[in-house]
Amino acid sequence: MRKINLMNEASRNAEVVIESVRKPPGITTGLPGGKKVAFKRYVAATEGGLHAKLVALHGDGLAKALIAGDPEIDRELVGREVGETQTVFLSGEGEVLHASPSLVEVIFGTDGKERERKPAESVPANTNEESPVRFTKLRLKRAELVTKFAVVRTIQIKHTSGLSYDFLYAMAKELADKDEVARLGAGPKGRDPLIFQENGARYQAFLEGRVDGPRYKLLLHLSNLELRTLAAAAS
């Protein structure tokens, strides 16, 4: 259960729970009789069976070698299921790296060309329990939000006690009554985009409220994409 520290416009804050909204159960893949099947990842070739290695080994005779002896297939390993794995990095020479690698951040322009290269800095999450996520002054009508931004993720905010129920219900009701969403910000000044994990994506966050009698929904809509054509972006 993940918590955030949410601050309202009156600078009152509370720790509340966030959970992703659910997708309904979908269609599964199976066989015509209703039997289910399992999706698996398996070894299709060993390192020695990769094209580059085979070319290096057989040169122009590769085609004949493939026909004659199936050198690309290691019968001991091909077909073996690949379960959980650990990420490793290989050096430029193709050896497993045992020393700490260095990280660089490369910035590409909209044309796909490299623009800048600099040592990568770690960007911490800013939606933890200590630093509050707060209301900014920006409000939009719901209709304006959905025609200007693509909401790529939605998180539901939930209360953990009677006090936080009152806190969140009031917030949801005020937003619902006005048919508005409020932009939330993080960071020391409360204006930064929200980052949910170290070095993660930055999201513009818009809080929407819905009420039905004593019930409420408080939904945090996250967007990292404006609805804008490339021509409009270029101009």
Partner: protein
């Protein structure tokens, strides 16, 4: 080139060419690259849990397998509903007129788990529909990029920049009341995501 998106509004058809809206094309992108001590770019690979196999790019494939462990070719696979009954394959909606429903409330679109966003170029837009979209109205229609067992839902919107289709499936959230208190559960890790340009 893919067939157009065709929608029908009040019996009048409008056609749109479509292209995915790509963040990298709008904002550029940032990428974190890993370098070895000599400054060469590292290749990402995987090591199996038992440590016996180093899995490099190009060494794996994936597929469906039955209970006996036998590989099942894709052309034998079908879609199954929650009760395990086969569901019919739905054809692609591209090039086929889809009736617009709406206007719908913005909350319906806010409940969509968006999977793709398309920029639409009108090739014959009904003036009445154009006026509706320019007024900020939202319409929905069935969308299947290619034949699939579960068509998705698309929402058609417009703004000063152009016209867009947001495609996905509806998500579900809970109505909460005073008595509903969230139970403690294990932490859920967020998806890995690349650091990108800020939007503003």
């Amino acid at each position: 080139m893919a067939k157009p998106i065709i929608v029908s509004f009040g019996g009048v058809q409008s056609n749109f060419d479509h292209e995915k809206l790509d963040r990298a094309k709008l904002y550029g992108r940032r990428q974190r690259q890993v370098l070895d001590p000599d400054g060469h770019r590292c290749e990402k690979a995987e090591l199996t849990r038992d440590g016996t196999l180093l899995v490099r790019s190009g060494m794996t494939a994936q597929g469906y397998f039955d209970d006996s462990g036998a590989w099942v070719p894709n052309n034998r696979l079908v879609g199954l509903d929650a009760a395990g009954n086969p569901v019919p394959l739905q054809p692609s909606t591209l090039g086929e007129p889809q009736t617009l429903q709406g206007p719908v409330a913005p909350t319906e679109l806010l409940d969509l788990a968006v999977r793709s966003v398309y920029v639409l170029s009108p090739e014959g837009l009904d003036p009445k529909l154009e006026a509706e979209l320019k007024a900020g109205k939202i319409y929905k229609f069935t969308f299947n990029y290619r034949a699939d067992y579960k068509p998705e839902l698309a929402f058609l919107v417009g703004n000063a920049s152009g016209y867009f289709a947001l495609v996905g499936e509806p998500s579900e959230s809970d109505w909460l009341e005073l008595q509903t208190v969230v139970a403690e559960a294990a932490d859920e890790a967020d998806d890995d995501e690349e650091l990108d340009f800020e939007m503003f």
